[in-house]
């Protein structure tokens, strides 16, 4: 059921979410999250970033996160699109969209997928700052966010 893609190209949020509901009459709620490149991080201006990933494992990890969401909630459809390569502030990085009969499940599953994606999917960000490029370090708050979902 989940549609997972890793790509350099930008994505059209409207088109992706439309694909979750097109031709269906059982969807009552679609929740979505879009992550964007900010122009500042940790007190430094960000001119752009490069996203590296582990081809093969990335897709498997995203599919696995979606499978877990599907087993926890009653979902009708999911889409995850994550970009790689060179991005600039304002660019879209990631889209998570979830369709279900009711909003509670769509909201929860969308947040769960993002929290798990941030700690399990093998992506790495390298930011361009005025003082040079730096690898973004993982945040403890992301581990805490993912830990909330432990049963």
């Amino acid at each position: 059921m989940p549609r997972v893609r890793v790509q350099a190209e930008d994505f059209d949020v409207g088109r992706e979410l439309d694909a979750l509901t097109r031709g269906r009459r059982d969807v009552g709620a679609v929740a979505s999250f879009v992550g964007l490149v900010r122009d500042a991080n940790d007190g430094q201006a960000i001119g752009g970033m490069t996203l590296e990933h582990y081809p093969g494992m990335t897709e498997k990890a995203l599919e696995e996160v979606c499978a877990q969401a599907d087993s926890r909630w009653d979902l009708i459809g999911m889409v995850v699109v994550h970009r790689v390569g060179s991005l600039v502030p304002g660019d879209q990085i990631v889209l998570v969209g979830v369709a279900s009969a009711h909003r509670g499940e769509a909201f929860a599953a969308c947040e769960f997928i993002m929290d798990y994606l941030k700690t399990r999917a093998p992506f790495w960000k390298r930011e361009d700052t005025p003082t040079g490029a730096r690898w973004v370090e993982a945040r403890a708050s992301d581990d805490l966010a993912a830990g909330r979902w432990k049963e």
Partner: protein
Amino acid sequence: MVTLLYFASLRESLGCSREQVSLPAGVPTVSLLIEALRGRGEKWAEALAAGKPWRVAVNQQMASLATPLKPGDEVALFPPVTGG
């Protein structure tokens, strides 16, 4: 032989993105492989030090030091992930 992949800051600090290595003798595990890599010199010992937050995947699944290895496995070493 196993295929070793390195990503992100680990790839940069080690100056290597991919290589083939022989499995250590005995009962090969991730732990034994890491020990062998640390023995290559200061750069390797430092990057793969026990206190450093590197992660390991075997055949594209997150793994641990105790994970057993067999010929043909794909082992990846990388820093904690930062996508999203």
